[in-house]
């Protein structure tokens, strides 16, 4: 019995780490939370103030004159890039999972799945390198002008100017590739494990194999698909290095079209810490901690939802994406 208690205490390090992260960020960013107020998430300006002036005290917090912190442009950038990533990744992931589960022979399936799912193992900074070196030139020279001339005629958000290649759509494309394997792997597992009898019944009724998959097997795995999409959402929201390298790191700028530079909450923390450290009052660094706090709470909610959907509702004990 003592052994169990001892193990239980050691295992408590996991919850402790999670609590410590949220608590430390909350305590550290408290002066910033107090100063920024709820307007933090709707203001569209990140301004350290006049760094050469003497600090002034506002609402009991020392700030540089003119300092104002708002992250609307980051929230917009994060949500839009994640949305684009999901819009690209969910159909491709579903298609790949369907094909792997049904059209690929058993002995090949394992190898092809493994090869495609190795994408999950590639470090995000390598995705960033790939995006920076080859995807940006490719998209900005070939795909973006084409998109602007075709879709751009119909949907103004896709119209030019197509910019440098660093921007919202590029970030969305790179993010999409990072999250597709999560969706494909989890869904393929669920599809293969669907009861064969339903599929056979559909075939016996004269459905084609595709109809049996699309109308019977796939709907049976919809809870897994929703859960996996939440997992992918959580990953895309918090992705840092790849976005940092391809998004253009916009500051105080809302994208006017899909090619415009953006920044996300995660990438902004990395790109701004150096300049935030120039603020002698430390409020800029604390405001960055507030961003990290917001991001951690969002990701905790999204991931908790994903696990509840997968484990409780969808009865999946473990997805491929850990």
């Amino acid at each position: 019995m003592k052994f169990k208690v001892w193990l239980g205490v050691v295992a408590g390090v996991l919850p402790a780490a999670l609590v410590a992260i949220v608590l430390f960020l909350a305590v550290y960013s408290w002066p910033a939370i107090h100063f920024n107020g709820p307007g933090f998430v709707v203001r569209d300006v990140w301004n350290l103030g006049n760094l050469y002036a003497n600090p002034v005290t506002v609402h009991g917090v020392q700030i540089q004159p003119g300092a104002s912190y708002g992250i609307l442009f980051l929230i917009v950038g994060t949500l839009l890039s994640t949305l684009i990533a999901l819009l690209l990744a969910v159909p491709v992931g579903v298609g790949a999972a369907i094909f792997l589960a049904e059209a690929v022979p058993d002995h090949l399936r394992m190898w092809i799945s493994f090869f495609v799912e190795l994408l999950m193992a590639i470090p995000s900074v390598v995705f960033g390198l790939w995006g920076y070196v080859v995807v940006i030139p490719f998209l900005s020279r070939h795909l973006f002008p084409f998109l602007a001339l075709t879709i751009g005629r119909v949907i103004p958000f896709f119209a030019g100017p197509t910019g440098s290649g660093y921007g919202l759509l590029t970030a969305g494309v790179v993010l999409a590739l990072m999250i597709v394997p999560i969706i494909a792997a989890t869904l393929r597992d669920a599809l293969v494990n669907q009861p064969a009898s339903m599929r056979e019944a559909a075939l016996a009724l004269g459905a084609t194999r595709f109809e049996a998959m699309w109308r019977v097997t796939l709907p049976g795995a919809r809870k897994t698909l929703i859960g996996a999409t939440f997992l992918a959402l959580g990953r895309a929201l918090g992705e840092t290095m790849a976005v940092l390298m391809v998004s253009g790191n916009a500051l105080n700028y809302l994208p006017r079209n899909v090619y415009d530079p953006i920044s996300t909450m995660a990438a902004f923390i990395v790109s701004q810490l150096d300049s935030a450290l120039q603020d002698p009052t430390g409020l800029a660094v604390r405001s960055l901690a507030e961003i990290a706090l917001v991001l951690s709470i969002i990701s905790i909610i999204v991931n908790a939802a994903a696990r509840l959907i997968l484990v409780v509702w969808g009865n999946v004990q473990r997805s491929m994406a850990v």
């Binding site: 295992a11 992260i21 995000s124 900074v125 390598v126 990701s299």
Partner: protein
């Protein structure tokens, strides 16, 4: 009957409407294209990393330290291993212990809480962990950029992976083994440490290897905890920054100098090759065990 259908799908009757056949064929074509796109992207990434990386590789990378925007990567290679080793040193005992707890006492409420929070912790963005490390260890703890701060941040990332893979490894151990041990009068401790753990050891080690791959590939948690150094590690746990390979990828690819870009490609080659080799090895170990 079921087997017969799976092996040879019933031939479609001729009378299926043409429109349905077209939709079905088009459906498979679209699905196949999705898979093809994914595979092509994977090949493209590997091509960029390995072809350009191989061109940048040479012996002096492994023998000299970084000098400005050139030189070698010895300091970064050493740093990556020091940081990852530190992370594993911290996260393996804790992770394996908590994995044992949530597997062997899986019906207790505390176990389900930990299992759930481990899954949530996996999803916390690595930059959040990194910024926590900066705030708590570098600033508040006063350690400055250091091996200790970097390793602890990485350990937080590895911990839930190791915990969950240990749990799954132990769940593969047959209950007959546990029953047999208990019937001989063994205590919980003997059963777990003497019977279950040895049986699950290969799978647990696989999980540890995968956690090592994750820690070698991470960048964001280290940027503001480990810092960067052009020199070899001086052996101090705190107050001295250390280099690592992923930082070299991120920084040196942005430099306008060919020598710096070559360092970035070489670092990307090393990191990706290491991560992929570990994943492939882990897959073969797991696969061999699964077939047995």
């Amino acid at each position: 009957m079921a087997i017969a259908i799976q092996q040879a799908p019933a031939p479609l009757p001729r009378r299926i409407r043409l429109s349905r056949r077209i939709v079905s064929t088009a459906g498979w074509a679209v699905a196949g294209t999705c898979l093809l796109v994914l595979s092509v992207m994977m090949v493209w990434i590997l091509e960029v990393v390995f072809v350009r990386g191989a061109r940048a590789l040479n012996l002096s990378l492994f023998t000299t330290i970084t000098q400005g925007t050139g030189g070698g990567l010895l300091n970064a290679i050493e740093g990556t291993f020091v940081l990852s080793a530190g992370a594993l040193l911290l996260s393996v005992p804790l992770g394996v212990a908590s994995g044992i707890y949530i597997s062997e006492y899986r019906f207790s409420r505390w176990a389900s809480v930990i299992r759930f929070l481990a899954d949530v912790l996996v999803g916390v963005p690595s930059i959040v962990v990194g910024y926590f490390g900066y705030v708590a260890l570098v600033e508040w703890g006063g350690w400055n950029f250091s091996v200790a701060a970097g390793s602890i941040s990485l350990a937080i990332i590895c911990l839930p992976y190791i915990c969950r893979t240990t749990e799954l490894a132990l769940r593969q151990v047959s209950n007959d083994l546990r029953d047999a041990a208990y019937s001989l009068g063994a205590t919980d401790r003997r059963v777990i440490l003497g019977v279950c753990l040895p049986a699950a050891l290969p799978a647990i080690l696989t999980g540890v290897l995968l956690a090592l791959a994750v820690s070698v590939g991470e960048t964001a948690p280290l940027l503001y905890t480990a810092g960067w150094s052009n020199y070899m590690w001086d052996g101090h746990l705190t107050h001295s920054p250390i280099g690592y390979l992923t930082y070299a990828i991120w920084t040196f690819i942005n430099e306008p100098f060919a020598s710096a870009n070559a360092l970035a490609y070489a670092a990307a080659f090393l990191v990706t090759a290491f991560v992929l080799v570990i994943n492939i090895m882990a897959r073969f170990v797991l696969d061999r065990r699964a077939r047995r």
